[in-house]
Assembly symmetry: C2
DNA sequence: CATAAAGTTTACCATTTTACTTAAGTTTAG
DNA sequence: CTAAACTTAAGTAAAATGGTAAACTTTATG
């Protein structure tokens, strides 16, 4: 029931890059140092973020990492699922692999709802919002902070489970 | 990020007992058969539910299991935490074991909120509500179903994280 | 073109968790 | 006293977790 270190490190990495205002790519080693990530662990996570299409990587001397999309288009849910695969609070909530009990299981709806509530928050939170929070005034535009999200959740559209 | 089998089986067990209208204790073996739980696994889970104060057990011939509290007083959250310990979506949300990054971590609030949203659902759902749903008309009284909860969540009081 | 700086790939590793199974108790009704 | 029921304590195979390490490829630069 807990986020893995890999995913936590992935979030820190993405946030670190989003906070970088220069447009030169960042080195994995520097990110690791700034974000308290074991460097040799991070260079294992970086390729996963790349295959997920979240970052571009430049090899060779002078290379590094930069974002593929705008920070406002990258949600926490997206990052977590890039590393851990689809989020599912219970086995029976994964894709169509239904357990035999699903048809008349009274608990199923509850988990589905709990998951929707949780995903709403992770989906409404973008890197842009998080950057704004830690560097107020450095960027303009409408972004959402965690506390904004609290009031906003209830207007969210239905998310598929 | 997923419920363990132990906790899932614990929920099924509690629900099975709550659905039992006779007041004679139920045998672990019978519960296991009805709820598709490996019997030898369940007899390992039962003592945990007992130490958590959720059930009473009667030993010896004719013995079995019955609930300690009324089904309306037992929430899903309570059952899950009896088996898995405190629910925490991220390490830094466990008790006071704060990571060194917490003071200026912009992500922390987000996880805290996501967790509150999820816990609200698990806390608002009681065994009584679930029983009502699968056996309509068999019990009276005000209980809450999963779909009721959906509209109710937003009025919930603040939960500590 | 040699070299160092960067990411890539693959493999390895110890520890813990998970989901069980097994077996030897202990208690109690009948 | 004996069978029925819960209790306790091991044991176990497989997977996940959180890393580490080494060999490889690409590219800028001198
Ligand atoms: S089938 Fe999904 S919770 Fe029971
Ligand atoms: S300290 Fe809790 S998420 Fe960063």
């Amino acid at each position: 029931m807990q986020l893995t270190r890999r995913a936590e490190y992935a979030i820190r990495t993405m946030l670190d890059i989003a906070s970088n205002l220069d447009d030169q790519p960042l080195m994995s080693k520097e990110i690791a140092a700034r974000q308290d990530i074991p460097p040799n662990f991070l260079i294992q996570i970086v390729p996963e973020l790349r295959s997920a299409g979240l970052i571009h990587t430049v090899r060779g001397s002078g290379g590094g990492i930069y974002l593929t999309k705008k920070p406002s288009e990258i949600s926490l849910r997206y990052i977590v699922e890039a590393i851990e695969g689809p989020i599912a609070l219970n086995q029976c909530l994964i894709g169509e692999a239904s357990c035999s009990r699903k048809p008349n299981c009274p608990i199923h709806e509850v988990w589905a709802l709990a998951q929707r509530q949780m995903l709403s928050v992770l989906e409404a939170t973008t890197l842009a919002g998080l950057v704004d929070q830690s560097q107020p005034g450095k960027r303009a535009g409408k972004t959402s902070t965690a506390t904004d999200v609290a009031g906003k959740i209830n207007n969210e559209v239905e998310l598929e489970v």
